[in-house]
C-alpha cells in the first residue's frame, strides 16, 4: 500500500525509487537474533535474507555523510503486519537538530496492509540522520528484507491500459490431478514473481533525455527498485520489482517531442 504524507508531490504520477540511502548511511540497529540476520540485510538487494532484531522493540539509526533530500521510503519482504507494533520514521536535517516525524503507521494500519510492500511518500525534506523504529507493542520481533529511502523518479505521464496492478499481478504454475476413473483429486500451485507490463503514455523528450536515462541504466542492469503506477489513483499498486523484459528503449514519436516507453517487470510476491 502507498501512504501519502502531507505535502507529497506528484502523487498521481507513476514513480520508481532506485536510490537507497540505507545503503549509503552508517547504520546502527538493534541486535540481531543470530549471525546472518544483521541490520545490514535491510539494504537488500536480496529479498531472501532479513534483518531480524532480537527484540520486538527495534530501531535503526542511519547517519549520512552529508544532508540529502528525500521524499520516499519503501519496505518490502517484511512481516510488519503481525510483528513489532506501531512503526515510526523520523529524520533530522543535520547532525544536531532534533528529529521530526515523517510518519507513524499504527499496528492496525500495518495489519490491514498485510505482507505487501509499503511505500510512504512525503514532502521532500533534507535528511542527514534518520530513525526507523518500533516500540514493539506486538511481542514478536519482525523480519524486514528490504528498505529503501530516497528521492523517487516521477514519470511525467500515465500508465496506459491494459495495466495490471501489483496485487493482481501474481503469476503461478497450476497443476491438477485426476484419476484414471476421471475424478478430480487435487490441485497445487507454485506462486512465482509478480509480473507487470507497463506502457507509459508518451513521455516528454526532456524527461527521456534526463531522468529516464538514469533510470534506464538502473533498470537495464537488472537492479531492483520500488515501482508504483499512481499513488493517488492506485494506492495498492506498489512493488519491489526488477527488469523482466527487454531493455528500456524510448522510441521517439513523430516530431521527436515525445517518446513511447514501455517496460516489463517481475516483482517480489509476499
Amino acid at each position: 500500500m502507498i501512504y501519502l504524507g502531507s505535502g507529497a508531490l506528484d502523487t498521481e504520477k507513476p514513480f520508481a525509487l532506485t536510490d537507497n540511502a540505507f545503503a549509503r548511511a552508517n547504520l546502527a540497529g538493534s541486535s540481531p537474533t543470530a549471525a546472518g540476520c544483521e541490520v545490514s540485510n535491510i539494504i537488500g538487494p536480496q529479498t531472501f535474507d532479513y534483518w531480524q532484531p532480537a527484540s520486538p522493540a527495534y530501531n535503526i539509526f542511519g547517519v549520512l555523510p552529508a544532508p540529502e533530500t528525500f521524499d520516499t521510503i519503501c519496505v518490502a519482504a517484511h512481516n510488519l503486519s503481525t510483528h513489532g507494533g506501531d512503526l515510526y520514521f523520523t529524520t533530522s536535517p543535520d547532525l544536531a537538530s532534533a528529529y521530526t516525524s515523517v510518519f507513524t503507521l499504527s499496528a492496525a494500519t500495518l495489519a490491514a496492509n498485510g505482507p505487501d510492500a509499503i511505500a510512504y511518500l512525503f514532502a521532500p525534506r533534507t535528511v542527514q540522520r534518520f530513525y526507523f523504529y518500533s516500540p514493539g507493542a506486538v511481542a514478536i520481533a519482525p523480519q524486514i528484507g528490504v528498505a529503501m529511502l530516497g528521492l523517487r523518479t516521477v514519470f511525467p505521464g500515465w500508465v496506459q491500459p491494459p495495466y495490471v496492478q501489483a496485487p493482481d499481478a501474481e503469476t503461478l504454475d497450476l497443476k491438477t490431478a485426476s484419476t484414471l476413473g476421471g475424478h478430480y483429486i487435487d490441485g497445487s500451485v507454485r506462486r512465482k514473481a509478480l509480473a507487470q507490463d507497463v506502457q507509459f503514455s508518451p513521455l516528454a523528450r526532456s524527461f527521456v533525455d534526463g531522468d529516464l536515462r538514469a533510470f534506464g541504466k538502473h533498470y537495464n542492469s537488472g537492479k531492483p527498485f520500488f515501482w508504483g503506477g499512481s499513488a493517488l489513483n492506485m494506492p495498492q499498486d506498489v512493488g519491489y520489482v526488477w527488469r523482466s523484459g527487454g531493455e528500456l528503449r524510448p522510441a521517439l514519436m513523430d516530431g521527436g517531442k515525445y517518446a513511447s516507453v514501455k517496460m516489463g517487470v517481475a516483482g517480489y510476491d509476499a
Binding site: 531472501f48 490431478a177 483429486i185 487435487d186 497445487s188 500451485v189 507454485r190 512465482k192 514473481a193 509476499a270
Partner: protein, 586 residues
C-alpha cells in the same frame, strides 16, 4: 485452500564454535596467517583447536511466500531423487543383491553473495581488519556463493544433505517430509553457473569399497611356524593390540583359533572348519576371520552395519528386526567363516538372496528389513482407478521367473571359493513341477544359490527358503509402474498395495484385486505426483502358524486367531468350515 508444495534442500556444513584469536582459538594474524578463517576446517589456522559445530544452509526453489527468518537461498533449480530399489530376495539380476541405493541429484544456480551468513568476519573483510595481505574488499563483488563455499569447505563428502518436501500455509511450512542422505559429490559451478550436488542414502557407508568385514589383518608372523606350533609372535611390535583377545584367524589357507596377549598369539586350534593344517612362513599375514557360530541374520546385519560400516546404531531398529526374524526365520542361524576382507554390501547381498530385503527408509531414518514372506498382518494400501491411480503400466518380467532352485550348502573349505559348486558338500534341488510342465511354462529356469551361511548343514532351512523363493517367483513376477497423487505420499518401500484396475482382470474379464509390493519409489513431480514400481506379490494364498494349545477350533476362533493361526480344513471339500480357502504350508 489450494496446496502450495515446496521443496527445500538443507546441507550441514562443518563450522567452528570459536572466534578467531579468542579463548581456545590462539590464531593471530601474522606470518603465514594472512587472513582470518572462513569458519571452516580447511581455512583454519589452528586446526587442533577447531571446535566443530554444524551450520545448516537451506535452499529452495525461487518462488513466492517462503518463510522469513534465517536465510533460505532461492537457488534451487531442481531435485531429482530416486529412492532405493529393493531387490526382493536378490531375484533381479539387473540389480545387485543388496538393491540400488537411494540417490538424489540437486542442481543449484550460483549467485553473487555478500557472505554475511557464511563468514563471521564479513564486516572485517570490508574494513580490512580481517586480512593483512590486502586492504578491505566487498565480498559481494568477489566470487560467487558456491564457488566460495566449495573452496572453503572441501570436506563435504559424507556430510548430511536433506530434501524436505512440504507445503506452505501462511508463510509457514507444514506437512513436511524429510529425506536424509549423505553427500557424495559437489561439482563446482559450470560455465552457466550451475552447481550439482549428489548424495546417496546412508547405506552407501556399507558399499564394498568403504566397509570390509573382517577388517584386513595388519600383523605378520615374526617367524615361520610348522604344523605342530602352538604359538606365534606378531610383527611389527605392538600390532597385537589391533587383534581381538581371542577368536579365529586364517594363515594362508588354514583356519586357526587363538588367544592373544600382546603380540604373542597362542594357537588353541589348527586346521579348523575343513581347512588344511600347514606350515607357514615368516611374513605371512594373520588375517582375522569373521566367525558366525549360530548367529541370527538380524544380528549379523546389525554387526556389519554398525561395527564395520560405521552406521549409527540409532538407525537400526533392533526390536523390529528381531520380531521379523523371530517370526519368519527363527531357525535359520548362520554358521560360517568369512576368511577374507569382504565388502559389507556383498555380505548383506548374500543374505538377501536367502530371502531378505534390506533398504534405507529416508523418511523414518531407519534401515528396513523384511523377509520374503506373505503379507500377513502388514498394512495394505488400497489403490483404485477412481480414487488414486493416475497411470498404470504393466512391465512383464518373465526373465525373473523360476521353476527350480538348486541350493548349495556346507562349504568344504571356507578359505576357498564361496561361489564354486566344487567347494560345497550338499545341493538341495527344489523344483516346481507344475510350472515346469510341458503344458505350463514348459521350460527350466534354475536359480543356483551358493550359500556359505548354513555350513552346519541346516537342510530344512535350505528347503524352506527354496520353497519360499519358488512361491514368490514360480510365476513371472510382473512389475507395475503406478502413478498416484501426492495424497498417497505415505506409501513407502516394501509396502503392500491392493490394486484395482481394469487392466488387471481374471479369465472372464472381471477386474481382480492384485497384491503388489513396492520395490521403488520416485517423485517425478515433487509435491504433486509419486511414481511407484511394484512387484506382484504372489504370496496371495492363506498362510498361518501352528496355533497355541489353548486356541479354539476355527469356527470359534477370533479374527486375529484366524489371521495368524493355521487351521485344518475339511478333508473332502478342502475348504474351511465357512467356505473360505484352506491354509497352505510355507
Amino acid at each position: 485452500m489450494t496446496r502450495e508444495p515446496v521443496t527445500l534442500v538443507e546441507i550441514d556444513v562443518d563450522t567452528c564454535a570459536l572466534t578467531f584469536g579468542v579463548g581456545a582459538c590462539t590464531a593471530t594474524l601474522g606470518g603465514a596467517t594472512v587472513r582470518k578463517c572462513f569458519d571452516t576446517y580447511a581455512t583454519c589456522a589452528k586446526p587442533l583447536a577447531f571446535s566443530k559445530v554444524v551450520k545448516t544452509l537451506r535452499f529452495a526453489e525461487s518462488r513466492a511466500g517462503l518463510p522469513k527468518g534465517a536465510p533460505i537461498f532461492p537457488a534451487l533449480v531442481s531435485v531429482s531423487s530416486i529412492t532405493s530399489t529393493v531387490n526382493i530376495s536378490g531375484a533381479d539380476d539387473n540389480l545387485s543383491a543388496f538393491g540400488r541405493r537411494a540417490t538424489v541429484s540437486v542442481e543449484m544456480a550460483d549467485f553473487a553473495y555478500h557472505d554475511r551468513f557464511l563468514d563471521p568476519y564479513q564486516a572485517e573483510r570490508i574494513s580490512g581488519a580481517a586480512q593483512i595481505d590486502e586492504g578491505g574488499y566487498d565480498p559481494a563483488t568477489r566470487g560467487t556463493f558456491f564457488a566460495k563455499l566449495r573452496a572453503r569447505w572441501p570436506y563435504y563428502a559424507g556430510r548430511a544433505l536433506r530434501v524436505i518436501q512440504a507445503e506452505m500455509v501462511g508463510g509457514a511450512l507444514v506437512n513436511s517430509v524429510t529425506r536424509n542422505y549423505i553427500i557424495t559429490s559437489f561439482s563446482p559451478p559450470d560455465d552457466q553457473g550451475r552447481v550439482k550436488i549428489e548424495a546417496s542414502d546412508i547405506l552407501e557407508l556399507a558399499s564394498n569399497d568403504r566397509a570390509l568385514c573382517p577388517k584386513p589383518g595388519e600383523g605378520y608372523l615374526l617367524a615361520a611356524i610348522d604344523t605342530a606350533a602352538t604359538s606365534l609372535t606378531l610383527t611389527p611390535a605392538g600390532i597385537g593390540a589391533k587383534y581381538a583377545a581371542s577368536g579365529r584367524a586364517v594363515i594362508g589357507s588354514e583356519i586357526v583359533s587363538f588367544t592373544r596377549a600382546g603380540d604373542v598369539v597362542t594357537l588353541t586350534g589348527r586346521g579348523l572348519a575343513g581347512s588344511t593344517l600347514a606350515s607357514h612362513a615368516a611374513g605371512d599375514t594373520l588375517q582375522p576371520v569373521f566367525y558366525a557360530a549360530g548367529m541370527r541374520f538380524d544380528d549379523l546385519i546389525r554387526i556389519w552395519l554398525v561395527d564395520y560400516a560405521g552406521v549409527s546404531a540409532d538407525i537400526v531398529p533392533v526390536a523390529t528386526w528381531a520380531a521379523e526374524i523371530t517370526r519368519w526365520m527363527p531357525d535359520v542361524l548362520a554358521q560360517t567363516h568369512i576368511c577374507t576382507p569382504t565388502g559389507v554390501a556383498k555380505l548383506i547381498g548374500e543374505l538377501a538372496v536367502l530371502g531378505l530385503s534390506i533398504w534405507w527408509d529416508e523418511v523414518a531414518q531407519t534401515i528396513g528389513l523384511k523377509c520374503n514372506r506373505p503379507p500377513f498382518t502388514d498394512p495394505v494400501y488400497d489403490l483404485t482407478e477412481d480414487a488414486n491411480l493416475t497411470a498404470i503400466e504393466t512391465l512383464d518380467r518373465d526373465d525373473a521367473r523360476l521353476t527350480e532352485v538348486l541350493f548349495f550348502t556346507v562349504q568344504k573349505d571356507p578359505t576357498k571359493s564361496a561361489t564354486d559348486a566344487d567347494n560345497f558338500r550338499r545341493a538341495a534341488y527344489v523344483p516346481d513341477l507344475t510350472a515346469k510342465g510341458a503344458l505350463a511354462y514348459g521350460d527350466t529356469r534354475t536359480r543356483k544359490i551358493f550359500c556359505r551361511w548354513l555350513n552346519d548343514g541346516n537342510d530344512s532351512a535350505a528347503l524352506v527358503l527354496s520353497s519360499r523363493l519358488l512361491k514368490r517367483f514360480s510365476s513371472a513376477p510382473t512389475q507395475f509402474r503406478l502413478r498416484v497423487d501426492w495424497q498417497d505420499k505415505a506409501i513407502g518401500l516394501t509396502d503392500v498395495l491392493r490394486v484395482s484396475s481394469k487392466t488387471l482382470a481374471d479369465a472372464t474379464g472381471k477386474p481382480v484385486q492384485t497384491l503388489m509390493q513396492v520395490i521403488s519409489r520416485s517423485e517425478p513431480e515433487p509435491g504433486h505426483e509419486i511414481e511407484l514400481i511394484a512387484q506382484a506379490y504372489q504370496f496371495s494364498a492363506r498362510y498361518g502358524a501352528a496355533t497355541a494349545d489353548t486356541c479354539p477350533v476355527f469356527s470359534s476362533a477370533t479374527e486375529t486367531q484366524k489371521l495368524t493361526g493355521e487351521f485344518a480344513c475339511d478333508d473332502t471339500t478342502l475348504k474351511m468350515p465357512d467356505g473360505s480357502a484352506a491354509y497352505e504350508a510355507i
